[in-house]
Point group: C2
Chain length 178, copies 2
DNA sequence: TAATGACATGTCATTAATGACCTATTTCTC
DNA sequence: GAGAAATAGGTCATTAATGACATGTCATTA
């Protein structure tokens, strides 16, 4: 149901079409809660049938622009506050693999770690670039996004540090074997 | 397919029954890649049918103990190294909600943030406790787990810091309005 | 004017994951 | 010796998510 939270959360800002939501997604939430456009369109339809959003405009190119309803607003607040399944807050394949990295042969492992480091550095750089687009304001919604982004950044940096630490393990081992 | 990686990764250590894997899961990977026991049993059966594991022993209480095969070992290495869908490495509901926290009314928001902080502190404490059980060794597999755990810790701490930062935003606002 | 590329919305088959159950055995405790 | 709790291994229905397509619009540019 998180995809619903994301879609309705974005619609709280302003009415949007599925396409617009998809684009907004790609520029912000997609790295934290991946979703394909088809999932967003499907979710919008379901939300419409449950009166959480309503079709408010047919724009150019038959684009269907949806507006969030009062029920939709309540749904979002409910979703934010509830912590029904506390376990599945996080699903992190990178950390899962990190636990098993010792299963690789030294050469493969080093290659893997270098790639991982690069990947997380890219994520980090991307997020920093996104953050620059945030307006400088003490508005709560802006600050919330800013601090959320900073938390995301810390996550990416944790992975970069992990890769570094593991690469160092390798170097120490090499040095010792000389 | 990550659940398969996790199951086979654990079986690389030693032969185990579905129940034992489930328990090992709960004590380590479950917070990073949640899985119910039924999913693990299902995966074990699928792996058996694909010759990635083989039933090596029927232990007490008809417990089926599986051993990883050579194909299984190759599968794990392949899985570790490949980065087929780079986007869906991470699925983090906490950070998703963090982006929308401004949608809550101040009182609800504060309550939510305090609960979140507590939750992530608990996760952090739990992981630190788990880390104490790691043997002190310079063995790569031990170091890998140690550094992975440290990365996890950094993630949890990032969330605690986020909650703190957002709580401070609130306090500043209150102070300013006096 | 033809082609390209961004815009826009979907369907459909399949896989992954959850949630709710079910059925036994064995061990521990009162 | 009765009953609870942990061990052990599932089934089944449903929902969530992916991946591969399908279809058409509109603006730009070659």
């Amino acid at each position: 149901m998180s995809i619903r939270g994301a879609v309705l959360g974005l619609l709280m800002e302003q009415p949007m079409t599925g396409y617009e939501i998809t684009k907004r997604f790609e520029h912000s939430l997609a790295r934290i809660w991946p979703a394909r456009s088809n999932q967003i369109y499907t979710e919008l339809k379901k939300c419409e049938s449950e009166d959480l959003v309503k079709l408010s405009e047919i724009a150019a190119r038959n684009a269907r622009r949806y507006t969030i309803t009062d029920q939709g607003r309540s749904w979002v607040v409910q979703w934010l506050v509830e912590r029904s399944p506390p376990e599945q807050q996080l699903r992190f394949e990178g950390l899962l693999k990190a636990n098993f990295v010792a299963l690789l042969a030294p050469i493969e492992r080093q290659k893997f770690l270098i790639e991982e480091k690069l990947y997380w550095q890219e994520q980090s750089a991307w997020l920093m670039a996104q953050m620059k687009h945030l307006p400088t304001s003490s508005d709560t919604s802006v600050l919330a996004r800013k601090h959320a982004a900073e938390a995301g950044l810390a996550v990416y940096e944790a992975m970069v540090n992990w890769a570094d630490a593991m690469l160092k393990v390798e170097q120490v081992r090499e040095h010792a074997s000389k």
